[in-house]
Each structure stands twice: as C-alpha cells, then as structure tokens.
Symmetry: C2
Subunit: 352 residues, 2 copies
C-alpha cells in the first residue's frame, strides 16, 4: 500500500481567477519573462525571495494557471507527453496507466516517446511543445540523476519519474528503494536468518547504493554482520546472479539469506543454489527486487520479492500534474513506499 | 534480414500538386464525402470501381495529399500516434523505434498510447485527431484480428501492426509466423532430428495456428510424422512449458526435437528436461520463438530461437506512413520475414 508522502514538499497556493499574461506578472515583479516563468513553474535556480515575489504578484494579478474545466475541451482531452529512456517498457507502461488513472473520468491521453539519445529527446520535447501538450513527464531507467529538460520559456508543468534532477524546484517521484530493502531485510531477519549476502547491480545506480545501505542499517540494528566480501555488485543479468552465488558459496557455505537487487539476479542465484544441491528456502532464503512476474512467478519455488508499485508512482505523478495545473507549487524528491510480496522462496517454515 | 515484401500489395499513384478539398473530389466523382474519404484513404468497404473513379477524379483535380515538406514545420514534426493493447511494451517500444528510424533525419515523434479497453482506445483516438496527429498506427498483442478503428471522415493514414483487420483496404503489417516456424523446423530437421513435439500457446491466437501449420508442412515434406498427441497448446506461461514437457516425455521418451511457441515456454521445457536428466542439446534439441533476450540468453545453454524482427516491422510501418502521406495507396496484409538466431540449445554437434 502507498501511504501519503511527506507533506513538507508541497507549497499550496490558492487558485487564481482572471486572465493576465506572464509578461504582466514579470513586469509587476520587475523581472524578465524567463525569471517569471521559472518562478511560476518552479523550475530552474532562483532565490526563494525572487520566486515568492513573482508568485505573490501573480496571485495579486490573478495570473491564470491551467484549468482543466476551462482550458480543455473534452474532445481534445489533456495530453501528457512522457519521455523515457526505458527501452523495455517495463517501467513506462505502468507509468502511463497510473497517470491516466489519476485523472479518473476526466479525458486524458498519456503518450510515450522513446528518448533514445539527448538530441532525440530534445526533438520530441520540441514537437510536444509545438503540439501544445499540457504536461510533461520525464522518466528513465533509474540511472541516477539526469540533467533537467530545457523547455525554454514555455509555461507547462513538468514532473520527473524514476529519476531525479539537481534542481530544488523540480518535482521528482521515485520508489523508496531504501524502504523496500528494509522490508526485505527485516523479513529475512524475522525468519531467523543471520548469515546474509547481497548480490546486486552496478554501484553507479543510486538504487543500488540505497538498497545496500538500508540492508546494512537493518542488519546493524540487529547486530548482524555483513562482511564486505558478502556484497557483490555486477551487471543486471541473470548470469551474474548465477556466477556471484557460486563465488559466495565457494568462499562461505554458511550463508542462509540471499537478498538480490533484481528478480533476474535472484533467478540466476536460485539456479546456482539448486545446482549446488542447496534447497530454497530450507537451506537458503532468497528475496528479489522488482516483482517482475515473468521472472518472479517462474522460479521454483516462486520468488519473494519487493514490488516498487510502479502504477502507484504513475498515479502520484498524475495527481501531481493535476495539482500543478491548478496552480499548486510542488517540488522536491518524493519517494513512495514499496511492498514486499511473499512467495515460496524465503520462509522455510512454509515449504513442503 | 528482411527482404522486400511482395509488390502486389501496392498501388502507386503520382503525387498531386494543387489544393482542392475532399468535397470537390466527392462532387466530381458523384459520391458522398464519406465514400470519397474511404476511397482516398483506402479504408472501409468499397467496390474497386468506385474507389478507382474517386481516386482518378482526385488525381485529375490534383487533390493534395499530405506533404512532409509543405505541411509540417520542422519545429512541429510529424506526430504519429500509436495505439496498443500491449501492456508489457515488449512489442511496442521496438515499433516506436522502427517507425522513427524509417523517417531518417526528418523530424518525427512516434507516441504510444495504452489502449486498455475499447472506450479508452476511442478516447485516445479522439484526442489524437483533435491534436491533428499526422498518422495513426494500431498495434496489439497478436490476439488475432480486431475491428478497424473508427476515425469518422478524418483523412489521415492508418496502419495496423502486429494485428490485422477484416477490411481489404487496410494496410496490416505483421511478422511472418509461418515462415519463422519453417526456419525453426527446417533447422531441427537438418540436425537429423526426427521425433518432433510442439509446445505452444492458446490456439485462438492466429500466430499459434500459423506456426503449427507451417511446422506440420515442413515435417510432411520430409516424411516425418507429427502425431496429434505431440502438440500441446496452453497458456503463454513458463510453467506450462515445464508441465507440457513432462507430459510429453512421460508418454514418449524418444522425442529429440522440441519446438516451442515462445521463449518462456522453451525455458520451462528446458528446466523440465534437465530435471529429468536429459541433456540439451545432446539428447533433445530445443528451439524457441521471440528472441526475448532476458529469457533466451539466460537458459543454460542459451536458446536457439526465432526473432520476429520487431524493429523491422516498425520500420516498414514508418515507410508505409511516408508512402501514404505522399498519396500512395497501400493495402493488404504484409508479412515480413523472421530470422533464426542460433545459440547453444539446438545443435548437438556444437555442444561441449
């Protein structure tokens, strides 16, 4: 279940009523058009004073933000452009669904563009703006932070999903990797496991660092050691899970809890364990990350794993767009809770 | 490699030069506006005579079709809306890429909308038309044929991908499932295999029927029997591949060639074979379908499989849109060739 995220990120401002232009707002606040745009949209680097002055002038003049009721004929709908670098679509399709779900019965189309490289991303962005898209979502495959998109002086809401930008005025929505890893580790500890190992992806992924850090923290709270040679980082490939497991158990066959940074890694790990004659979960408990069903439901036994609730992230992105349309100010990095999906690979008391 | 498809599908007409309206064309041909639209766009049921009369009047009057050079400012680009029911994105993302690749350096954005149900599909379509999209691609997860989309009297090109409609004027582009299955079967025959079995998906998928039919045909050409109890059809799940393999080998352990309708099925089959102590490919050659790399590259040994060249299908769809923009008439069902990807699971002479 997704709980309400921390409210400290939000700055709620009243919805304005009249028609004035951004130029009027800029003139009244004594700033350039570009600065006024940044202040209204909460993008770019700006002092809090300047931002507040512009926004207070906007409120005083009744600068009209986007209104679903007034600005969007039902036949046209709200068009949300989603830019992504996710070539597999595994993150993007639930995102599209979640965004649309947030709009309920209001007409909306979330449309996905494949940002294969920076120049193509910029081209898609230009086309979306030329077609008067109402909002933009920038998504990625979680390769850490990325540069903010450049939409010039255009005044439209932008939300980042599954990635974050180094801009305090941007709103970035991600799954809470640390909390997900805590759920997995606490579950393994509660089963009585004490000999932990972690097989994960490349450490230049923020998610990899957050998950390992949270796992270490939970184990420290329970006075359980996690020696450095019990954490192996490599490519996001099933074959890495297989190889890493053999390396770990060649060195130390006492390991009884294996937390893997993806379901693919966990699948390779389970195959290696079974080839060594070790039983899952009787001898070793295994937990994955992703709840990617073609993997997690196909292992024998099926895989206990962390679900990032991707559609819930999408829904939150959609709700944020609605709030931004209404003139609210939202910024900061919002991390939404993951869930633990219990299946057969972790609890030895449940195995036949 | 994708070869040039059959030219019989295409009706090339010269590119017109002047501005006239569709109403002028309809009046000149003595038909309603709706009929003129159908004739110009090659959609809907129409006699060849009527269609040719309208199109010949259109050519005579110089009815202007869509021109990339004249109609699309570079900053706006060509917008192609792609409607899909593929929830995983595995088919859709290569399709987007292929469409954009076909446009080369010309500015284009292929944008994916998730058609979760008929009413949402109709809503997306309405939004795309209201935003003056330049072309529409309708895609699916290969669940056989589907009804044509309803775009009223709007005059824009529509191409169907990975699905087909019962409309002789529509252009439908699919992978050639039968040819792919022939490649797989001929490969297995060439390895000296004679005891064949087939594990596949639900038979209400056209692809399932085409693949089985082609496999039977190749085997018949080589006087190899395929008894009916050697073809098992079930859900597209890895666990079905596992169960079906055990059923087949319990009945008849002489089987030496297993052609599976998907890589997931093949993966389950390989696990069952290995659990029975049978060696792949020494005892049994296994070939899959899809070349879905997270599956096909993770089996031990890696899986020989049929690649549907999804991006090539996308590229052909994009090239067709360009041709339709230019006033060409294209219709019919085009099936593009698959490739066989050789890996370790099929050829016993290559195994260590």
């Amino acid at each position: 279940m997704v709980s309400e995220p921390d409210k400290q990120f939000f700055d709620l401002s009243p919805q304005p009523r009249q028609n004035v232009t951004l130029r009027d707002v800029a003139d009244a606040a004594g700033v350039t058009l570009g600065t006024a745009s940044k202040a209204i949209n909460g993008r770019g680097r700006l002092s809090p004073e300047t931002r507040e002055r512009v926004r207070s002038e906007a409120r005083r003049l009744g600068f009209r933000f986007f209104s679903l009721q007034e600005d969007v004929p039902a036949s046209q709908g709200v068009m949300v452009g989603v830019l992504t670098t996710d070539n597999y679509g595994r993150f993007s399709l639930p995102l599209l669904m979640g965004i649309e779900d947030a709009f309920g019965t209001r007409p909306v189309s979330a449309m996905l563009c494949n940002s294969r490289d920076q120049s193509r991303e910029q081209q898609h962005l230009q086309h979306l703006l030329a077609r008067k898209v109402d909002g933009i979502v920038v998504s990625a495959r979680r390769e850490d932070s990325r540069p903010p998109i450049n939409i010039g002086r255009t005044v439209i809401p932008v939300v980042y999903a599954f990635t974050y930008v180094e801009d305090p005025n941007a709103l970035c929505v991600l799954p809470d990797d640390a909390q997900g890893a805590r759920l997995a580790t606490e579950h393994l500890v509660s089963l009585g496991r004490r000999q932990f190992a972690h097989i994960t992806g490349p450490s230049y992924f923020e998610a990899v660092r957050l998950r390992e850090g949270a796992m270490r923290q939970v184990l420290a709270e329970h006075d359980i050691a996690l020696p450095h040679n019990r954490v192996l980082s490599g490519p996001w490939q099933e074959s890495w899970g297989y190889t890493a497991t053999n390396f770990l158990f060649d060195q130390d066959p006492s390991i009884d809890a294996l937390f893997c940074g993806s379901d693919q890694l966990a699948r390779g790990a389970m195959e290696a364990l079974q080839a060594r004659g070790l039983r899952v979960p009787t001898d070793v408990s295994v937990v994955g990350f992703d709840n990617w069903e073609p993997m997690a439901c196909a292992t024998r036994p099926p895989l206990t794993t962390v679900d990032m609730n991707l559609a819930q992230v999408g829904r939150y992105v959609g709700e944020s767009l609605l709030a931004l349309f209404a003139g609210e100010q939202r910024s900061g990095i919002v991390r939404l809770p993951c869930s633990l999906i219990l299946r057969g690979s972790s609890d030895p008391s449940q195995s036949g």
